[in-house]
């Protein structure tokens, strides 16, 4: 049947989609913030795998030109886009981890439901709309360096 033929030709994509959904499951369902960030990293890496699989040319080689031999090269364009995406991914992870450290310093916990419960107990709104402009109070002179 035609569907069976396409599935056997595209089985790479199916396993990678399974990995993507696993990463998404970790992000949505786990309460621990570090585990959420790990799930996000797994999700991103699986998306990269999907993208690079699109660029593969059967019988080709890495897109580094050689003066002899093969004339078929894999598509270099997905590689470039994924290089950018990898670096952006690590930037996101670094910022996420910095936020987790500050959340732990402020609340003493990195479990999502506990932090939300603490915020509700302290009467804080779920968003920061009503915060004053100087929450620390650590600026005695009003911020003027002169």
């Amino acid at each position: 049947m035609d569907l069976v033929a396409t599935i056997t030709a595209n089985w790479n994509y199916l396993i990678v989609i399974l990995l993507m959904m696993g990463g998404l499951f970790i992000v949505i369902s786990q309460n621990n913030m570090v585990k959420k960030l790990v799930g996000l990293a797994i999700f991103q890496t699986s998306v990269f795998l999907f993208y690079i699989t699109v660029g593969k040319v059967a019988g080709g080689t890495a897109p580094i030109l050689m003066s002899y031999g093969k004339a078929a090269y894999s598509n270099p364009l997905p590689h470039v886009l994924i290089l950018t995406a990898i670096v952006v991914g690590v930037a996101t992870t670094a910022l996420g981890l910095a936020l987790v450290l500050r959340i732990h310093a402020a609340f003493g916990s990195i479990e999502d439901d506990e932090v939300l419960a603490m915020k509700a107990d302290a009467g804080m709104p779920r968003s920061k709309r009503s915060r004053s402009s100087d929450p620390d109070g650590s600026d005695p002179d009003g911020g003027d360096p002169a």
Binding site: I64, I86, V87, A94, G108, M118, A122, G137
Partner: protein, 154 residues
């Protein structure tokens, strides 16, 4: 880890070859897999190794904070500067064809300069990230208006 002779000797011996390998990856990126990002991470790994084994203060003496921030900005400015140089020489922004009389040599120079800028930025960012995370102390940020909620003593 400073007292362990194996780690200390290994870090001292490995430091220079890692940087040389990083520079090789940076400038050989036109002919083999490599380029700015990979080289930046490798060179930062050498400094991170030094900081791990000999302590954060020794690491900070090697690369002071002002130098780290200056390299961070310099990398982005080099990249942007190549673009502006293209405009100053009657081309478009980031046009490498006009940088030298021969267009393909101009492309070559443009690519090398741009990758160098990228490598510089990535090195300084990774090093700054390491020092920010490793030198973090919860006591600095612990007092918030809602003082009832913990203070990092978990």
């Amino acid at each position: 880890m400073r007292d362990n002779p194996v780690l200390r000797t290994a870090a001292k011996i490995l430091f220079a070859p890692i940087i040389v390998f990083g520079l090789y990856v940076q400038f050989h990126g036109d002919y083999s897999p490599g380029g700015g990002f990979q080289a930046g991470v490798i060179i930062a790994a050498a400094f991170i190794l030094h900081g791990l084994i000999f302590g954060l203060e020794a690491g900070r003496r090697l690369v002071p904070e002002w130098l780290n921030l200056a390299m961070l900005a310099a990398g982005v400015l080099i990249y942007g500067g190549v673009g502006v140089a293209g405009m100053a020489l009657d081309g478009l922004y980031l046009d490498y064809n006009v940088l030298l009389p021969d267009p393909s040599a101009g492309q070559h120079v443009g690519i090398i300069l741009v990758e160098f800028g990228v490598g510089l930025t990535v090195t300084s960012v990774m090093l700054a990230l390491f020092h920010a995370f490793a030198g973090f102390s919860e006591d600095r940020f612990a007092d918030k208006p809602e003082d009832t909620a913990g203070g990092g003593s978990q």
